[in-house]
């Protein structure tokens, strides 16, 4: 059974680019436009990993990670941040929130796939 990855980004084209790479590698993908949308979709779905943008309207990525980690059932759900932010202070913020990796855009699909397989071994 294919592992499921949730891609959260307010940019539809970015979600599409990430989804294409993941689907080509055999992952199942579900998408959300922001943190709040993602939390709602997370409840009814079995997700193995989350790839999340940082700067989003409604609910940003850091807040989303904090919210997710508050829930016992998702305490160990790996979250990878995918953002244009490269400032160390923001990375540290993400790490403190509970993110497992920080990828700076633009990315190559193989970078994402390599990071995904590292965070979610087969």
């Amino acid at each position: 059974m294919a592992k499921k990855v949730m891609v959260i980004d307010d940019s539809a084209s970015l979600r599409e680019v990430v989804s294409i790479a993941l689907k080509a590698a055999g992952y199942e993908v579900t998408e959300a436009a922001d943190g709040k949308d993602a939390l709602a979709k997370l409840d009814g779905d079995k997700i193995n990993l989350v790839i999340c943008d940082v700067n989003m309207p409604v609910m940003d990525g850091i807040t989303f990670v904090k919210e997710v980690k508050k829930r016992p059932e998702y305490r160990f759900l790996p979250v990878m941040m995918l953002t244009t932010e490269s400032r160390e202070s923001r990375k540290e913020e993400g790490q403190r929130a509970g993110a497992k990796a920080w990828v700076v855009k633009p990315f190559r699909p193989d970078q994402i796939l390599s990071a995904v397989s590292k965070l979610m071994p087969a």
Binding site: A12, S13, T83, K91
Partner: protein, 363 residues
């Protein structure tokens, strides 16, 4: 201003996207959107300037009113352009994604149409070679059967000849017995009363001779009938030679047809391999183009921050709050919302450098 931002974005896009097809398309989209936005804005901006000049443009109060009215308009124009570009790039990305997917499906279908279950075109060539070998064996077996038939026929004909000779011998013996019986009858007659008993034996011998001759004739007729039947079944020597020639020709035809099949299949396999390589290259190029589309996210964020800054400046001008705020404080506030290294470089008036370190950091 929107036109300038559009031009700047398009240039940035071409630089980030390394002038790829996707980057060029999106640059055109941004330019188009900004040109439309810019034209509307230019009209309202010019109208504002004309109003201001009419009312005394040197007055800072007029400049502030201009900011109050103009900046929100600029912000909305930027926002509209950004949303249009977002929408268009998302649509382009989806379409390119579909192309990649359909290209892969078409390629797989083409491979399966000329190959085995595992989709290898080499299997088709191997299958043709295997069929060729099997058909060659069939022709060989037909040849062997033909040769066996000739051999059997020859043997049967030989036996028939022997039987004819034996029948002739039987007839010859019957003739000699008949002659012997004739001589015996003469001698019995000469012996008079004493030869009467011998005459009875001679009579029996004559009957036996007649029966033997009849038997020889019947054997000859039967052998002739068997020969006629064999000729009917297998034909004469001419027809068996024609059969041999036909089998040989069939073998050559099978070889020729299979050679054509092999040539066609090899050509088809080569075409599919070429198509596969080309499709793979196209897929890679489209994948690269999709990666280039990520520029849109950065451009969108930069435009979004610029629009937000304009809105805040407009609001500040309305509140006259800028009078109490230093330029540095204002720039610091701007910077607090920035995310991309390009925005920080622009804020500091730097030329675009190599950019921040990219890649993956694991915690």
């Amino acid at each position: 201003m929107p036109l300038a931002l559009g031009v700047a974005s398009a240039v940035a896009l071409l630089v980030f996207g390394e002038a790829s097809l996707a980057s060029s398309l999106c640059a055109l989209l941004l330019l188009g959107a900004s040109a439309i936005g810019g034209r509307h804005l230019h009209r309202s901006h010019m109208a504002g300037l004309i109003d201001a000049r009419r009312a005394g443009a040197d007055d800072p109060a007029h400049l502030r009113r201009l900011c109050v009215r103009g900046l929100p308009v600029w912000a909305r124009q930027i926002q509209t352009s950004r949303e249009s570009a977002d929408h268009a790039v998302a649509s382009l990305t989806r379409n390119f994604g579909d192309i990649v997917e359909r290209l892969g499906a078409t390629l797989t279908a083409a491979k399966y149409s000329v190959s085995g279950r595992d989709g290898q075109v080499e299997d088709a060539v191997a299958a043709i070679q295997q069929s060729e070998a099997q058909l060659a064996r069939v022709v060989e077996v037909l040849g062997e059967l033909h040769r066996s038939k000739d051999s059997i026929l020859e043997q049967v004909r030989s036996y028939a000849g022997s039987l004819q000779e034996m029948a002739a011998e039987v007839r010859h013996i019957a003739l000699q017995i008949r002659l012997l019986a004739l001589n015996g009858a003469i001698e019995a007659s000469r012996a008079g009363e004493a030869g009467k008993a011998f005459a009875v034996v001679v009579g029996e011998m004559r009957q036996l001779s007649g029966q033997s001759a009849e038997m020889g004739d019947r054997i000859s007729k039967k052998v002739d009938a068997v020969n006629a039947s064999l000729a009917g079944m297998f034909g004469d020597d001419v027809s068996t030679d024609a059969e041999a020639a036909s089998i040989e020709k069939a073998g050559r035809d099978v070889e020729s047809v299979m050679a054509r099949f092999r040539s066609l299949t090899t050509g088809l396999a080569d075409s599919i391999r070429t198509m596969e390589n080309e499709a793979e290259r196209i897929r890679e190029q489209i994948s690269d183009a999709l990666v280039d589309f990520q520029f849109q996210d950065r451009v969108s964020q930069i435009l979004s921050h610029a629009a937000q800054s304009m809105t805040r400046l407009g609001a500040a001008a309305e509140r006259r709050a800028e009078e109490g705020q230093s330029v540095e404080a204002w720039l610091d506030e701007l910077a607090s919302n920035y995310t991309t290294h390009e925005e920080f470089d622009n804020l500091q008036g730097k030329a675009r450098g190599a950019g921040a370190a990219q890649g993956v950091t694991f915690f």
